[in-house]
């Protein structure tokens, strides 16, 4: 599972101004809260909104999961990544370091 792999990155770089926002596209509150608690995830976790205002499909046009966007300090999307396989966090870390 990919989200727990992000936790060490968060802990390592949060003091330098790095944040993670994870958005549960399915709004599966019960499963999500159980998962977050079990894995000890401490970054910001949000639920996608109801259909009309849903963020995932309408604003970000995300159709495949997990998808992630890395945003710089000025709010620009500087990197997009689809999927999260073992080892991807290494490349992601380089990207984060490039922006910090």
């Amino acid at each position: 599972m990919e989200l727990p792999r992000l936790q060490p990155l968060y802990e390592q770089y949060k003091d330098q101004g790095f944040e993670i926002i994870a958005i549960d596209a399915k709004r599966d509150t019960e499963r999500a809260t159980k998962f977050i608690e079990e894995k000890g995830l401490t970054y910001t976790m949000l639920e996608n909104a109801e259909e009309d205002e849903e963020i995932v499909g309408s604003i970000f046009k995300v159709r495949s999961f997990p998808s992630s966007f890395l945003i710089d300090r000025d709010g620009k999307v500087m990197y997009f990544h689809l999927g999260f396989e073992a080892g991807d966090e290494v490349h992601l870390e380089e990207e984060i370091l490039g922006l910090l």
């Binding site: 998808s67 945003i71 710089d72 300090r73």
Partner: protein, 338 residues
Amino acid sequence: MSRKTTILTLIVLVGLAGACAKQEQASPAEEAWSGLVEARNGLETAEEKTSLAEDYLAEFPDTEHSGSMAGVVVHYRGHEMEDPQGAYLVVASALEHIEDPEQRFAVGMEILSLSDSVDVPLELAQVANSLGAERPLTYSEHQQVFETAIDLEEWMVADEHALAAMEMATPETYRADYPDREFTDEDIAERVQRRRATALAYDGWALYNMGDTELAFSRFAAADEVGSVSYLGVPNTPLYTFWGRAALGEGDFDSAVELLGAEAAFGNDGSGAEIFLREAYAAKNGDEEGYDEFLWATRSELATTVDDFSLLDYAGNQISMADVSTGKVTLLAFWFPT
């Protein structure tokens, strides 16, 4: 009715009811399947996930779940555990027992996806045609075939199925694929557009490799005109990778750098495009000097700014993106719990 007959009748009735109840009971394969669905929720490691699927396939190779179980084995054993040969042996031995053409296709395609690391004795065209002999393939099946064909460099197969898929990129076909779901016309238009753009981009790349350069470039231009783009403004198909590689092949380094630059920054598979971008950059400039700066500059130039939004956290608080991320580097991750 005598007492004896009544009792006898009752016994018969009870017996019949018992027999009926037995018939309604799930088959061993179905029972094992419900057990598996239950058990897989708690699994963590790739080893655990694949072994559940492998046990099921070994005992019940020919069920409606064969294709999806083969997919689990290929993903976890083949890719995550980096044991493609092992995954191949498991799935190929299941295939020997499968009669249903639908499942033979699904499992066959999973096996073919291992072709880059395992010597697979299956022919893509044959796998596609044997299901095609039963019924017309759906858009998604054609897509699965042309994507695999591109990976295997079977250009003619890719061309054939991309063309068939193009024909099927219509609102009617899309609705027929999802009979239980309701779509707005706008939704449908967007999805059909994306299907069309995908088929055009892949067909262009197949044609380019078959030597039909002119037609290939006209396919790329047509895919670009259909214009199915992601939030970040680049096609949500590998169009720019294919087009850029073709431009690189033709010695048009300016176009190659431009197309691959956009893809490497924000494409679906940016890391795939980056190798070719580096090559195109070196070809254009004589060497790789300044490449990293160039890549960052390209990204900055093309980057879109995120509009603020707000959502609820699990404690019910309304949180806006700006609250969390103003002035910070932020990773926005979209996921769903499985």
